[in-house]
């Protein structure tokens, strides 16, 4: 088991290098192929009135004129050893792991990301709890009462949940619950949990529900299909033949077996979300990683984009690893192979 984890970690490092290299290529090479020179890139950092000579100096100083592999090497070196960035009058040290330095905001990327991580984590954790409870229980009830009014209604709502984008459901929820009924936070505010847990939950309630609606829909459909499958299995008939009450048959025998695929999807969804719930954070103006990455892309701020990509892919890789390990816990048939 230990060896397996180490092997997966090594593979993860390679994967992260490949992901960042690909991001590098996209954000460095594509503008050049489109005809932008290093000076054009540097002009964004040089102020409005800078002369072409000054811009060229900046381009050299920021390393934009170096070949792309040199620039990528510098980024990786910063990750491992840390880096120093000269901002003109002063030099900023960015300790390892240095995810880069934004010349636009004059900030190293990592502390910025760490500031925003609690927001995204709060959003993801609360949303995940709601969608897991709502989705799985809806799916179980739907499967047990297949074809009933509840089943049809739930699956209709689930279809809507899967198909409606968050910026639609989110804005709709905002206008109804916050502006019309006035029972939820109006958006744009976030209170850290250690400051005031009640206020934290109040601010996040609508984003949680919006996010959970999208995911719960998928989980309800997945659970329903899984339960319909497992409840037809022979071991369910055995459980009934033993005289177990139907409730135990459904939960301990049916749901237990149907949960495995749900666990897989859940891990990956959660990992993906921790890298930034872009639409939800943007809709509710929550200062999380998702919002940060949108700003970074809009401003063409490569160090930030790289930082978000790196952190986001790390979450996904870790989530995948955790899911694979959990699989062995959940399914004894995997454990012994």
């Amino acid at each position: 088991m230990g060896i397996y984890i180490v092997r997966r970690m090594i593979a993860a490092v390679w994967l992260l290098l490949i992901v960042t290299a690909a991001t590098f290529v996209v954000f460095f090479l594509v503008p050049r192929l489109a005809g932008a020179t290093p000076d054009d890139l540097a002009s964004r950092y040089a102020g409005r009135t800078a002369s072409p000579e000054v811009i060229h100096q900046i381009a050299i100083k920021l390393g934009f004129t170096d070949p792309i592999w040199v620039q990528y090497g510098r980024f990786v070196k910063g990750l491992v050893l840390g880096a120093d960035y000269s901002t003109g009058p002063t030099t900023v040290h960015c300790p390892a792991p240095c995810l880069g330095y934004s010349f636009l905001t004059q900030n190293p990327v990592l502390p910025d990301l760490l500031d925003r991580l609690p927001v995204t984590m709060s959003l993801a954790a609360g949303g995940a709890l709601i969608w897991l409870l709502a989705g799985v229980s809806t799916g179980v009830i739907s499967a047990l009462h297949r074809g009933s009014v509840f089943d049809r209604a739930a699956m209709g709502v689930a279809l809507a949940g899967v198909s409606l984008p968050i910026f639609f459901t989110g804005l709709l929820a905002l206008s109804v619950f916050s502006y019309w009924l006035g029972i939820t936070a109006p958006g744009g505010s976030y209170t850290p949990i250690n400051e005031n847990p009640l206020h934290w939950a109040y601010d996040l309630l609508l984003p949680w529900i919006t996010l959970a609606f999208l995911y719960a829909a998928g989980y309800a459909r997945l659970t329903r299909a899984g339960m319909l499958d497992t409840m037809g299995e022979d071991f369910i008939r055995t459980a009934r033949a033993k005289g177990l009450p139907e409730r135990t048959v459904v939960l301990r025998h049916g749901l237990r077996a149907a949960l495995t695929p749900i666990l897989t999807i859940f891990g990956i969804d959660l990992g993906l979300l921790l890298g930034g719930a872009i639409l939800t954070e943007s809709t509710y103006s929550l200062p999380g990683i998702g919002k940060y990455s949108v700003d970074a892309v809009v401003n063409n701020d490569l160090p930030k984009v790289l930082g978000v990509v790196l952190v986001g892919s790390m979450f996904i890789i870790v989530a995948n690893l955790v899911v694979d390990l959990l699989y062995a816990v959940v399914d004894p048939r995997v454990r012994y192979q």
């Binding site: 022979d234 008939r237 459980a239 033949a241 005289g243 177990l244 025998h253 077996a257 004894p332 048939r333």
Partner: protein, 341 residues
Amino acid sequence: MSPLLEVRDLRVHFPTEDGVVKAVDGLSLQLERGRRLGIVGESGSGKSAAALAIMGLHQPGTARISGEIWLDSTESGRADLVRAGAEQVRKLRGRTMAMIFQDPLSALHPYYTVGHQIVEAYRLHHDVSKQRAYRHAVELLDRVGIPQSGSRVDDYPHQFSGGMRQRVMIAMMLSCNPDLLIADEPTTALDVTVQAQILDLIRDLPAAVLVISHDLGVVAELADDILVMYAGRAVEYGPASDVFAAPQHPYTWGLLGSMPRWDRTRSQRLAPIPGTPPSLINIPPGCPFHPRCRYAELTGGQATSVRPELRPAGSPEHLVACHLPNPRRAQILADEIRPTL
């Protein structure tokens, strides 16, 4: 004393879009304590549907069950399971009547250890500590012949071979010492060498056994009485020795003839029954077997119009549902059938 199990005119009908599937259509049988009854028939003859009806394992809403199923339980007395509430039947399951299934791999839960699954059944009906229940599970595994039962109790079903899994299944169903054990094709999914061991195990059980099989060999090994089922009803019913020595129904003749025999030449070895089992939605009028019966014409048209009832033939306990006059049947048996058996 009333028999342990008495089924009267049992009907299990499934309404479908194409019509009503009459899986069991007027089955009656009796099983005394400690005896073993074998039900044989082709796939779709209603054997399993009848067994599931006795266990109360048909999904409510999908099956329409009528008739009477009287079970005389040691604990709770005699009750008609058709009329009893679902909760009452559930409490009898596992404790008074238990069932083992064809494929022991899919019938055991893949995520729980065999010990857990046995303990779950035992503790459901007995108020004992987990430790005591586990000790009981180890004893049971030992009793059904699983080596190193003390450590294997913590293994998962996939870590056992097919025969061992069926032993686990039997151990689980024996955990509460049921009066009635229903074995639905208990050896069909197993290797031939393992089949004999499992049959020995079942034969040594104290419970009354209702064994269901398409394999006359299995039934011959186990059963004291034999009931041959066709299109949801008994066509022949009697002591095993009588049924094998002097089979009475043309369908039984067909079943016996379609058993592969090693002591025949290749061309004589198998004599399959012509035709296919009838649709259970449109059961042929009269005797359901008449479209496949070589002797249907000898009944003077009765075979196509009147459904035959069970009546004695050969001996008083040996019943057959066939329109052939007894002397005529005896003659066919002597001239045509016996030489081939």
